[in-house]
């Protein structure tokens, strides 16, 4: 499979008089291959938008190498720009124009047939509202218009920065269906989000960014598998005795309330056999699979037990590095 987006060691520091230096992206890597629906996941302020802006030539990177559809970016981006539809952070439109006119101007500037405007509006569900002024649009409608502008070119690569922003649940579902149907026609999609559920539902691959660095990447199921500690929740009549039996069988087990937590289980039948042989019948044996949310929270340090509100850029927290992360499962056990 060929790389559609490659980013290596991207760095970007913002300097401003008021806020001083702010490292937005700090040696970030990203690889998106053709045909993927690639989730770009990270909490607010982790550097997603900055990365996409640098990739699209809107901000100057301080270091690193990037390419889009095989062309180094931003130097040769113009060569492939016609095949890349992108929205970066809810784009603003000129309020006095209608949605239709907004797209028509872009189509004209980009040399796209004007007929494509209606198709794009239809795709995002704005067909009947295209003749209204943009300033009368709701946030969700503006977001749809933005997506329509990205679709106008009939792109091979679609880059969407937080497209779910401002959309209602039905809108989010439509957006998801839209991305799926586009992907089915061979469009590669890179979609950034801070909402985990979204990514897990539609993406096959994911890259997780935290404080400007990649902390995990790969197929969604593989990323999850990498954090699977093979834990099971077990309910039996005598938890205390069960723990002893399981520990004797070289499994890690602790009492957790009414039930047991057993980890390091490669084969769950072992648990029921060990307990059953001693007359302890297993009432429940539930695998505790990590979901993307727990992996994400763990990797990005976004999840804390303290009562102090978490701060946006996570300053003061140790940097969560891939590999060292300890997974807290839903049950919130301190490992």
């Amino acid at each position: 499979m060929s790389a559609v987006i490659e980013i290596e060691g991207l760095r970007k520091t913002f300097h401003s008089v008021r806020n001083g230096r702010r490292v937005a992206v700090d040696g970030f890597d990203l690889l998106v291959e053709a045909g993927q629906i690639h989730g770009f996941l990270g909490p607010n302020g982790s550097g997603k938008t900055t990365t996409l802006r640098a990739l699209l030539g809107l901000v100057r990177a301080d270091g690193g190498r990037m390419s889009v559809l095989g062309e180094p970016s931003p130097e040769l981006l113009p060569r492939v720009a016609g095949q890349v539809g992108a929205i970066v952070e809810s784009p603003q439109f000129f309020g006095n124009f209608t949605g239709h006119r907004t797209l028509r101007l872009l189509a004209r500037a980009g040399g796209v047939p004007i007929a494509r405007v209606d198709e794009a509006l239809e795709l995002v569900g704005l067909r009947d509202r295209g003749d209204e002024r943009v300033k009368g649009y709701s946030l969700g409608m503006k977001q749809r218009l933005a997506v329509a502008s990205a679709l106008l070119k009939d792109p091979r690569l679609l880059i969407l920065d937080e497209p779910a922003n401002g959309l209602d649940p039905a809108g989010i579902r439509e957006m998801r269906d839209l991305m799926r149907s586009l992907a089915a026609t061979g469009v590669t999609v890179l979609v950034s989000s801070h909402i985990l559920g979204e990514i897990q539902l539609i993406c096959d691959h994911v890259t997780i960014i935290s404080r400007g660095r990649r902390v995990a990447a790969g197929r969604v199921d593989e990323v999850l598998a990498g954090y699977d500690r093979h834990e099971f929740l077990v309910r039996v009549a005598e938890p205390g005795r069960a723990v002893e039996l399981l520990q004797a069988a070289e499994l890690t087990a602790v009492v957790d309330g009414e039930a047991l937590m057993v980890s390091g289980v490669s084969d769950p039948t072992v648990v029921s056999r060990v307990l059953g042989e001693q007359g302890l019948w297993v009432g429940e044996l539930t695998p505790l699979r990590p979901d993307l949310e727990s992996v994400f929270l763990e990797l990005t340090g976004a999840y804390e037990h303290s009562s102090v509100p978490r701060q946006v850029d996570g300053s003061g927290l140790p940097h969560a590095d891939q590999g060292e992360a300890v997974i807290n499962l839903d049950r919130g056990v301190d490992a």
């Binding site: 802006r53 113009p78 872009l106 500037a109 502008s149």
Partner: protein, 338 residues
């Protein structure tokens, strides 16, 4: 080309541009209406009397001149005739006067096109200069802030091309609008002159000198448009251009002039943009410099004025605008667009 077409549509859809065009039309209509209301076609009596008055005035000038010459050559005693007679008679030589009294001068309440066309044109140029500056600044300023530029760059990731298309569209549109406005404006007043006033002497000289003023005015309009565009591009906001213009006027044209007067700097006027604009528009601007005649102790005639001519003044305006425009492109090429 597509880019330019799209830009034309954006530009013409701007509320601000529409507002300015309406203002232009309004100012135009008001001037035309008041002129029309205050003017009438002179009847034969009025004309005859005006002609007589004008010729009398011309004669009296000639008499003064002859008297002056006579006194200079000593053929006339220096007695007081009640006339002003300068030391240098050429000052009042009728042939050297810029303008001799003509009948139109003695026709109150009659609009004479040949006489009024130039001041009217200056007014139009002043309006168009303001128009160009404000539209140039707001066009790019609003687009930079509304994300329009970013949207466009996602489509055409060539910053210089995009900015140049905008500037080119702006200049083209301002020029076309200015030409249309001047034609409509002059034609209206010409018609007023023909029907409710006097056309005046509309000979080749008149038209060619009017055309020259007009041409210079158009150049000035284009330069200020580019200037507004360039400053707003560098400052990222429309208000940057307005602020820069206001700050320049207050700090330099007023404050700087004051300071230079206090420290007795020589020829402060030649450091002022307004002087160069004046020189460019009128062909030459004259300013007083007491030092020119400082060493001139005697009573010899000494012209203590120096002049700025249109050539060097145009160069000053071109260098300023060109420099700022180039700087705007250089800044825009590298800057982070958010």
């Amino acid at each position: 080309m597509n880019l330019v077409r799209a830009e034309i549509e954006r530009l013409s859809a701007r509320r601000f541009v529409q507002l300015m065009v309406v203002l232009l039309a309004l100012a135009f209509a008001i001037t035309a209406a008041t002129t029309l209301a205050g003017s009438h076609k002179p009847n034969a009596d009025e004309l005859n009397s005006a002609r007589a008055q004008a010729s009398q005035a011309r004669q009296s000038m000639e008499v003064s001149y002859q008297e002056c010459l006579a006194r200079q050559s000593g053929s006339l005693p220096p007695q007081d005739t009640g006339r002003y007679l300068p030391a240098d008679c050429s000052e009042i030589d009728p042939i050297r006067q810029e303008k001799l009294p003509i009948a139109a001068d003695y026709l109150p309440g009659v609009f004479t096109f040949a006489q009024q066309a130039r001041p009217l044109l200056y007014f139009l140029i002043a309006f168009l200069v303001l128009f160009g500056f404000l539209v140039g600044a707001s066009y790019i300023g609003a687009d930079l802030n509304s994300g329009g530029v970013v949207n466009l760059l996602l489509w055409r990731p060539r910053r210089l091309t995009v900015l140049a298309a905008k500037l080119g569209t702006l200049l083209g549109a301002v020029l076309v609008l200015s030409l249309l406005a001047s034609v409509a404006y002059l034609a209206t007043f010409w018609v007023i002159g023909q029907t409710a006033g006097l056309p005046g002497r509309l000979d080749g000289d008149f038209w060619s000198s009017l055309a020259a003023v007009h041409g210079r005015g158009m150049v000035l309009v284009l330069l200020t448009s580019a200037l507004g565009f360039a400053i707003a591009t560098m400052g990222r906001h429309t208000s940057a251009a307005l602020g820069a213009a206001a700050a320049y006027a207050v700090v330099w044209e007023l404050g700087g002039r004051l300071v230079m007067e206090i420290i007795d700097a020589r020829r402060p006027d030649q450091l002022m943009l307004s002087s160069h604009i004046g020189a460019w528009l009128t062909g030459e601007a004259r300013f007083w410099d007491p030092q020119i005649c400082a060493g001139n102790a005697g009573n010899d005639y000494c012209d203590s004025f120096y002049s700025l001519t249109w050539g060097p003044s145009l160069l000053v305006l071109l260098v300023l605008t060109g420099g700022l425009t180039a700087a705007a492109f250089a800044v825009f090429r590298r800057r982070d667009l958010l």
